[in-house]
Symmetry: C2
Subunit: 585 residues, 2 copies
């Protein structure tokens, strides 16, 4: 085999007259006036090769038979291209190789789609031939970026005394939250391992063991009905620290973010990243992961309508409901049918209706404007800094509904009206989360993060009386409307852990059965500790400017968990099942 | 919480007079003439704290109640110890902290064993309380070394243009070799994912995709009946390269080994690491992973006994058998019953018997010496450089048996007679492996490495006629008798892959069903490629000077795959099983 002396992205005018060997794929093939040109491609770049029958007839004839995606080795001399055929878009664009030897290393059938970034490929076809999709430059660059991301993360964390430790993949099944993937045991009939939803218990045990600072870039698994753009297996940057409080963890995470954005994009993120309470986020942006790339804040209007005669609002306030609104820039110019659709959308999101008023020439008109008093109108103008042509929309009703509906509309409108500057990078920490949330389905409180999250120390006594009011020592990091990390300070005594399980209506037996080993560990000198986990797939996606986490995963599955390339999951031998003591129903 | 200003391994005489805060565990507690001393421990070291009732009565009383493994925060002044109580074995041994404040951060029950490297712990107890075992300094240092090993590997590989890419954990079940762990699918009734035994097919697909150089430090899984010191999940350093031959891969691996030993132990490994053929290794050391830390080579003696009158040897040679022997240094002085046991051991390893002769004062005596002619004796003396008091042992019979029995005895004797210099680091590449080996159990040839390994190009035609003679483009790296890495150049055309499957008696349908996706990928321009995988657990164990891979794994399982700490695997809900469409037999 003719072994390469250079990659296809390496040669330039300073290499002319050298004899070189390149190995790669035929990217483009063309016959131009008796000369054959191919663009030879590898992951490093593309180099033009020329076959001239007057130089060597035999290799010219071989070159004639080349087709796209053939793998070849070419030996030849680096020459300058004629001035008028420079290609400034590639680094090798001033030179070409005049071929003197060629070896076809492998042939290729005609691929089902052209290997080019400029072509839309049917998603199923692209996943079936994933190894060909991955030849596209964009996907290659994404995975190379992801590789750099790993190194950047590890460099930062090891410099900060974190120890990288692998935790088991075959672990105990302890469903509390999402569904576990199970792995039947052959040696222990009727028993199962589970794949980790996260290494949560292990990293806490590592703190009990005194490792002080732990990290791992680790695969996690959830057998959920997959929503759009989720994968059954996903990757976390998992960290835990001892002798820390919330701010220590957030400070380390701030530094990690700074390092990553500097290494990957040369951007300086300003730290400390600002913090916002869960309540403020919810009442201003309608969710706990605000997209701050555009403003359009929600305003609570309860006080403005205290004395209102508008019956709808009056009724809501009398039932301790909320009224809130937001101003859509230039919304008064939206056509009537768009406004009608907006009302429908609000209803689809759960509102009873959507009240609105146009604001033009300092006056309110249309919608509910005739029901609103002049004083109220004046107050509204002051509450919002309204601008000419704004459309004020308002929702009234139950607290949760009001803000979440407005939050949804805000996001939809932000996108539709292109309010967001997508080049912006807007981080925010969300803190002071409620510890628990009530699950109507299970008719009990469930942990908003997970049952190992510590409540605020001064609120522990509230846990039995007013569990809904207790705040957690938890924090989420949000980037441009995506939750990219979440963590908390953990419970580190058996007494507090038991209190938490009681609040969750998990019986002593169940707690012992599932988490007895962790509670036992807390008896032997568990230090104060806390941590955080970053969703690496989403972070890589944002860094790569992709639309889907599939763009940064080498071999993703469909949203139903199917691998189209190899048809996993698949049937297995009966012998295998018998060995596992299992029968299919 | 009193937050630490320093770790417990950081302070020394230059810090005297400073007021500091330390956080850690009470390692030792003693009451000395009215003063209380504690050794406060964290992963960075140990610092002595003094509580003096005349300085602060209240904290003295708190300190009186401290017990081993309590977690405390202490504030105090750094002072020089009296000259006569310096402890030169620790870096903080010249100072102590005179405590002025103390906060008990958590209490501890009395641990089931003392946290000390100097105590033998029952293995089951140690695994049950793994988080306490992991507080022992030796295990902490092992895992910290392992963390450094990861970083060293990744630094080397990324510098050499390898891209780190994660491959799926939930993959297609393709049993060929060991048994897969299976993961039942909830969405696809009766179908299963498998956990990877290695990312072999994926890394080949990444080469087809053009990534050129791939690596990953990755968990792999085998549901085997665990031999001593195996784990159901283990970690590999997995690599693959395009446009390479065997030497290119071995050169990269040589460089990796150099980098690792330099980074971890400051040792310069001389490269290129030498190569030895499989045949030579087998006929000289009796196996394919020779321990070169001691000599005692096996010698083939067939030619010496061509004309022999000794009936046993004569018979063996007439049946195309082999005779080989090795010389045990000072073996003539072994007591008679030890020599008798040696004969028994040889029989246990599969020999019909063990022939021997003592060599003393240039003469052979005892054993079979009276049956051996003078010419033969002279030739033996020349074949071996025999030394005074050597014991020559010989085995005759079938080829495989002869060398493997002598190889086993060589290892046993090497250990018993302490022939090996354990401070040595002896690497060797084993090359020219047979491609196939006959499986009596399956009554067919099976792949010695795996079915994707390429045969030597000039021997492909032998594959149908004399499959046993075909050599593989495979290579194993051996360190001190341990196989620490293995790899090969892969098959990269459908035609050759099909030929290989035919040699393995895998039908076209079965091949299509299991590996159709890989064969299809080979149709679209698969470059020449090859790779290697290092067993990271064993490598870390050797680097840490441990006896068992459990010494370098945070949460290992027993040899039957049980996690004693959390009792995984465990029973699961019937609801979970129903969702997976499964019933236990």
């Amino acid at each position: 085999m003719l072994k390469r002396t250079h990659t296809c992205g390496e040669l330039s005018e300073i290499d002319t007259e050298q004899t070189v060997v390149l190995n790669g794929w035929v990217n483009k093939w063309r016959d131009h006036g008796g000369l054959i040109f191919i663009d030879l491609r590898d992951r490093f770049g593309v180099t033009q090769i020329v076959f001239d029958p007057s130089v060597n007839k035999e290799i010219y004839l071989t070159a004639k038979k080349l087709r796209s995606e053939f793998v070849v080795a070419v030996k030849g001399k680096v020459e300058m291209r004629p001035d008028d055929s420079f290609n400034p878009s590639i680094s090798t664009g001033k030179i070409e190789i005049l071929a003197r030897e060629i070896e076809v290393l492998n042939e290729s059938k005609t691929p089902p789609f052209e290997i080019s970034d400029n072509i839309d490929i049917n998603e199923e076809l692209g996943l079936t031939y994933r190894y060909l999709s991955l030849r596209r430059q964009k996907l290659q660059q994404n995975l190379i970026l992801r590789s750099r991301l790993y190194q950047s993360v590890r460099e930062y964390l090891t410099k900060n005394s974190f120890v990288e430790i692998e935790t088991p993949v075959l672990m105990k099944s302890t469903p509390e939250g999402a569904r576990d993937f199970l792995v039947p045991s052959r040696n222990y009939k009727g028993k199962f391992y589970a794949l980790p939803q996260s290494p949560q218990t292990y990293k806490q045990l590592l703190m009990v063991a005194g490792f002080d600072r732990y990290f791992q870039i680790v695969k996690c698994f959830r057998d959920e009905d997959l929503r759009r753009d989720r994968q059954p297996e996903f990757t976390q940057i998992d960290m835990e620290m001892s002798f820390v409080d919330e701010n220590d963890v957030m400070t380390i995470a701030d530094g990690l973010i700074r390092k990553i954005f500097k290494d990957i994009h040369g951007i300086d993120i300003s730290t400390p990243i600002k913090k916002m309470s869960f309540q403020q986020a919810f009442e201003t942006y309608g969710n706990d992961k605000p997209d701050l790339r555009f403003d359009m804040q929600i305003r609570k209007l309860n006080n403005l309508f205290k004395q209102t005669d508008f019956q709808v609002f009056k009724d809501v306030l009398s039932q301790n409901g909320h009224i809130a609104g937001l101003a859509i820039p230039d919304g008064s110019e939206l056509p009537r049918n768009r406004i009608d659709r907006l009302v429908e959308e609000a209803k689809n999101y759960g509102a009873n209706g959507l009240a609105y008023m146009k604001y033009q020439k300092n006056e309110f008109s249309a919608g509910i404007s005739k029901f609103i008093s002049d004083v109220e109108k004046k107050n509204i103008r002051e509450a919002f800094p309204l601008k000419e042509n704004d459309l004020l929309i308002m929702v009234a009703g139950k607290y949760e509904m009001v803000y979440s509906v407005l939050g949804q509309l805000r996001l939809d409108l932000g996108q539709e009206l292109k309010l967001s500057d997508n080049s912006q990078i807007r981080f925010i920490w969300i803190v002071d989360f409620p510890l628990l949330e009530f699950s109507d389905e299970e008719n009990r409180y469930v942990a908003r993060h997970h049952p190992f999250t510590s409540p605020k120390p001064d609120q522990i006594d509230l846990l039995s009386e007013k569990p809904q009011e207790v705040l957690a020592r938890a924090y989420d990091l949000v980037l441009n409307g995506n939750e990219i990390a979440g963590g908390s300070i953990r419970i580190n005594t058996r007494k507090m852990q038991r209190k938490m399980f009681e609040a969750l209506k998990i019986s002593k037996e169940e707690a012992e059965n599932k988490f007895g080993f962790l509670m036992k560990a807390l008896d032997f000198g568990a230090p104060p500790h806390g941590g955080i986990a970053f969703g690496l797939d989403r972070l890589a996606m944002i860094l790569a400017g992709g639309d889907s986490i599939r763009d940064v995963i080498a071999f993703p599955k469909t949203s139903s968990g199917l691998s189209l390339m190899d048809q996993a999951p698949s049937e297995v031998d009966n012998v295998q099942l018998r060995e596992l003591h299992l029968k299919i129903l």
